[in-house]
C-alpha cells in the first residue's frame, strides 16, 4: 500500500517537475472565430495568426477554427463550460461581444469576469453613411432635418435591437432628440444587406463601420457625413470629419480583441500576454493590421481586463437607458 502511494507521489512529483522544467508553450495554437468563415471575427483571427507566423514569434502555425452562433454566445459558453483550461486557444471578440455580455445574452450567469481577457489589437469606428445624392452634406444638416421630421427618414443597419449596429443608430437618433424607441429603424442581416437597401433608397441613413465600408468609398455612390471616432483617421479617410469636430459628442469604437478560458493558469496567461506584447511591436503585425483596415488600438493583459469591466458597466447603463434592461 505504502509502496503504491510512494509511486503515485513520485509520479505526481515528476509531473510537477516536468511542468516547471518546460515553460508553457502551446502545442497546437488555435484561434477560435465565433462566427462563420468570412466575417469580422475570421479577419480578427487571421490578423493574429498571419502576423504571428510572419514575424516568426510562433514556430507552429496558428490554425483558425469557427464556432458560429449568437454573435459569439456559443463560443463563450463552449469555452467556459468545456474548455476552461485550454491554453492553446484564443478566442476573438469585439465590442459586440461586450455588449451582449452586458445584456446577459451570453448567459445570465456570465459576466466579463467569466473568462480571461487577453488583448485588444485594433479598432474600427462607427460612421454615418448616406447616399451620394442625399441632400445632407454634413451631420448638422442631417440632425436638423431629423429634428424637424423624426418619422421622415428610415435608419437601417445590420443588427437587431440591442446590437452594436443598433446602438449607433440610437446615438444618431439621440443627437436629434429622438428617443431610440421612436426612431424608424430597420434591422437587416449584416451590413451588406443594409448597404444595398441604402443604394435602393429603402433606407436613408446607414450607421455603419468605416473599415467594413472602405471598399465602397471610391465607388462614389455614398458619402460619409461623420466618423464616430475621437480624432480624424489617417490615410484615405483623412478627409472625413468626425462627429466631435462638428459639435456632437458621439463616439463609437468597435475594438477587436481576444480572450482565454477562465481556468488558464497565470503562467499560461502571461505567456500569451508576452507573446502579444512582442507581436504588437513588429512591423509584420502593423502591416497586417493596416491591410485588414483596422486602426491602432492596443491594450494587453491586465489593463485590458480592467477595460472590459468598465465596458461592461458602461454598456449596462446604455442598455438600461434604452429600456433594454430593467
Amino acid at each position: 500500500m505504502s509502496k503504491m502511494l510512494h509511486f503515485v507521489a513520485s509520479c505526481a512529483a515528476l509531473v510537477v517537475l516536468g511542468s516547471n522544467v518546460h515553460a508553457f508553450e502551446p502545442n497546437k495554437p488555435l484561434c477560435l472565430a465565433p462566427a462563420k468563415p468570412g466575417g469580422g471575427f475570421d479577419l480578427t483571427c487571421r490578423l493574429v495568426s498571419n502576423s504571428l507566423t510572419a514575424s516568426k514569434l510562433l514556430d507552429k502555425p496558428m490554425i483558425v477554427n469557427f464556432m458560429p452562433g449568437g454573435v459569439g454566445a456559443v463560443a463563450y459558453n463552449h469555452v467556459i463550460g468545456q474548455k476552461p483550461d485550454d491554453a492553446n486557444m484564443i478566442v476573438a471578440a469585439s465590442t459586440g461581444s461586450a455588449l451582449n455580455i452586458a445584456q446577459g445574452k451570453f448567459g445570465a450567469k456570465y459576466s466579463v469576469d467569466s473568462v480571461r481577457w487577453l488583448a485588444a489589437l485594433g479598432a474600427d469606428y462607427g460612421a454615418v453613411i448616406v447616399k451620394a445624392d442625399a441632400k445632407w452634406n454634413n451631420l448638422n444638416e442631417l440632425v436638423a432635418d431629423l429634428k424637424a421630421n423624426p418619422k421622415g427618414f428610415v435608419l437601417g443597419s445590420g443588427g437587431s435591437i440591442g446590437s452594436q449596429d443598433w446602438f449607433k443608430a440610437a446615438i444618431i437618433a439621440k443627437l436629434a432628440g429622438i428617443n431610440p424607441k421612436d426612431m424608424k429603424y430597420v434591422a437587416f442581416e449584416g451590413g451588406g444587406e443594409a448597404l444595398t437597401a441604402l443604394m435602393g433608397n429603402h433606407i436613408q441613413i446607414y450607421p455603419g463601420d468605416i473599415a467594413e465600408f472602405s471598399g465602397q468609398i471610391s465607388s462614389g455612390k455614398f458619402k460619409v457625413l461623420a466618423l464616430l471616432s475621437e480624432e480624424r483617421l489617417p490615410g484615405q479617410m483623412s478627409h472625413i470629419p468626425t462627429a466631435k469636430e462638428q459639435g456632437f459628442d458621439a463616439v463609437w469604437t468597435i475594438w477587436r480583441g481576444f480572450y482565454l478560458g477562465p481556468k488558464v493558469s497565470d503562467e499560461e496567461y502571461d505567456y500569451w500576454v508576452n507573446k502579444i506584447k512582442a507581436l504588437a511591436e513588429t512591423p509584420e503585425f502593423k502591416q497586417e493590421r493596416e491591410a485588414r483596415g483596422l486602426y491602432p488600438f492596443t491594450m494587453i493583459g491586465k489593463p485590458y481586463h480592467e477595460f472590459m469591466q468598465k465596458e461592461e458597466k458602461r454598456f449596462k447603463e446604455l442598455a438600461k437607458e434604452a429600456g433594454l434592461l430593467k
Partner: protein
Amino acid sequence: MEILSSLATGFSVALTPTHLFLIFLGTLLGTLFGALPGLGPINGVAILLPICYTLGLPVESSLIMLAGIYYGAEFGGRISSILLNVPGDAGAVFTCLDGYPMAQKGLAGPALALSGVASFVGATIAIVGLTFFAPLLAKVAIYFGPSEYFVLMIFAFATISALMGTNPVKSLIGLTVGLIVGVVGVDSTTGVLRFTFGEAELYDGFEFLIVIVGFFAVSEIMLMLEHHSSDDFEMPKITRIYITLKELLTCKWTMLRSSAIGFLVGVLPGTGASIASAVSYTIAQKISDKDKTFGTGDMRGLAAPESANNACSGGALIPMLTLGVPGSGTTAVLLGALMLYNINPGPMLFVEQPLLVWGLIASMYIGNIMLLIMNFPMVRVFTKILQIPYWLLVPSVIVLAFVGVYSVNMSTYALFLTIILGILGYFLRKLHYPMAPVILGFVLGKIMEDNLRRAFAMSGGEVGIFFQGSVNWILWSLTIFILFVPMLAKMVVRRYQLKR
C-alpha cells in the same frame, strides 16, 4: 464589344496550365464535397480557403479554384439525392423528388447523366447572363427592398401551391411545421429569443445542415431498415448507363426555363438554391405534368431543379461581384476570401480588378465544360455506390453526415438536434406528410417574416407599402397569373372538348 474583349482577356488569364489544373482540381473536389451528405459548398470553400492562402497562391488562382469548388459542389449535390434519397445540400432537396424514383426503377445512370447535362445548361446560361447582364441586374437587385422581398415570397408560396399534393391538410401541416422550425432563434428585429430553451446553440436557429441531415438522412436510414428487412428486398438494378438524345430533348424547354428562373432568383441577395429549385420544379410541374408522372421519376422533374440550382449559383455571383454583397452563404465565404487578400469587394471591383473578375468568369466557362466531360465517366463510378452493401453504406452515410453537422460549430448538441429532427422526419414521412412543404416553410418563412416586419417598420404599419413601386405590381401580377392561369386554361380546354 467591350464585354467580349474583356472576356477575351479573362480567357487569357484562365487558360494557363496552372489555372486549368486548379479549375480541374476545384471542380473535382467540389463534386466530391457536394456528393458527400452533410458536406456542401460552404464547408468546401471554407476548408480550402486557408489552404490556398497558406500555399501562397495569388488571389486570382485561389478565387478560380474556390469558385470551382462552389459550382462543382452544386453539381455534385445531386449524386446522393438521386442514389440514396439523401440530399447533399440545400439545393438538392428537390432533386430527390424525381431523381430517386428514377434510380429505383433502375435508371440511376440516365438520371445522373441527365442531371449532369441539366446542371451544365443551368450553369452555362447563368455565366452567359453574368457576362452580359451583370451591371444591369445589379441595378434591378437594388430595387428590391423589404416590401418587394415580401411580395416575392408570396409569389414563391403561390408557385409552390402545386406541391400541395393529394392531401391538402397534411401538406399545410408540413408547411406549418417547417415554418415553426424556422421561427426558432433570435428574432432579427428585436433580438428577442424565441423557443431557444436557453441553449446558446439555438440562438441562430436551426442550421440548414441540421434540418437537411435530420429530416432526410437520419429518417431515410430508419426507412431503409424497413425496405431492407422485408423479405423481397433487392438492390435496385442498373438497367443502363447512358441517356438517349431523345430523352435529353424532351427536357430542353424545362432546362431552359428553369435555368432562367434559377439565375434570376440567384441574383437576389438572401434567396438561394433551395428556393430556385423549388420554384422551377413546381412551375415545370404546372406546365408539363399532364400525366401526373412528376414525383414518380419524370425526367423533366429531375432536370428542372438541377438546371435551376446550378443557374442560381452563377446568379449569386452577380451581387457579390457588382455590389460587394453576398447572395448566399457560399458567396459570403468567397467575399471573405477576397478580403483575406486585401481586396475590398464593392461596386468598383469590375473597374479596379478586371483581370480577377474576368479571369474568374472565363474560368467558369471552362470549369463547367470540364464538369460536363467528367460527368460521363463518373456516372459509371457513382452508380457503383448503389451496389455497396447496406452494412457498409448505411453506417458510412450516417457517420459522414454527422461529422458534417458536428463540424459546423464543433458541438454535439447539433447532433442531438439532428437526431430529434430525424425522428420527427421519420413520422412525418411514414404518415404521408409531404416533405417538400416542410423544407420550403423552413427556408421561406424567415425571409418572409423578416421582410414583412421590416416593411412595416419602414411604413409605420401602413399596408400600402406593399403596393408601391413597379416591382411590387409586377410581382403581384405574376402571383395572380400563376394562381389562376392553370385554372383558366383547364376551363378553356374543357369547354373546347365539350364543343367537340
